[in-house]
Subunit: 99 residues, 2 copies
């Protein structure tokens, strides 16, 4: 898995919604929920995706706010796998109870 170039990252970021870069090496998104347990349920779905892709994000649950951070340790930066993961999490959020 090779680190993406700056140009590739900008193109990919334009294709996902709400993801922002923390720094050169990682990106994050804040997901909001109406109820605490809806956020927790979403986290279990993200975890299933993570296991399937064998790529594990950092997940912070702060009451009704879930913040997910992605990076690829092996590449010391962002890779295709991070954006594939992001798209999958967003798909789970789209069908999750959050309003």
């Amino acid at each position: 898995m090779t680190e993406l170039s700056e140009e590739q990252i900008e193109i990919y970021l334009a294709q996902v919604s709400g993801w922002t870069r923390n720094d050169q090496k990682s990106m994050q998104k804040i997901y909001r929920f109406k109820r605490f347990l809806d956020g927790v349920r979403f986290v279990t779905q993200v975890a299933d995706v993570a296991e399937r892709l064998n790529h594990h994000p950092s997940i912070l649950i702060d009451y009704r706010i879930v913040t997910i951070s992605l990076t690829t340790w092996d590449a010391a930066g962002l890779t295709d796998l991070d954006f594939t993961s992001a798209a999958n999490y967003d798909a789970e959020y789209a069908v999750a109870e959050h309003q």
Copy 2:
């Protein structure tokens, strides 16, 4: 819910295992798991306790490490509710798959 005194906090901390104070106002514990999904399952159990007590910790999942932080916002410090929560989480961890 009233903020505990320094003396009370020290007594209570001596009765739980692995909890450390971040600062005057909060405390945290790092729970380790052999498998990522075991940590996630533990988080869902912690979440059920949190809903039952109506007291919600901050939860960070970093692969096989789950870090839980507790504080009581209303009291701007640590209260009985934080230590009741901690004891309940520890009880869940004791029966969780983590080795």
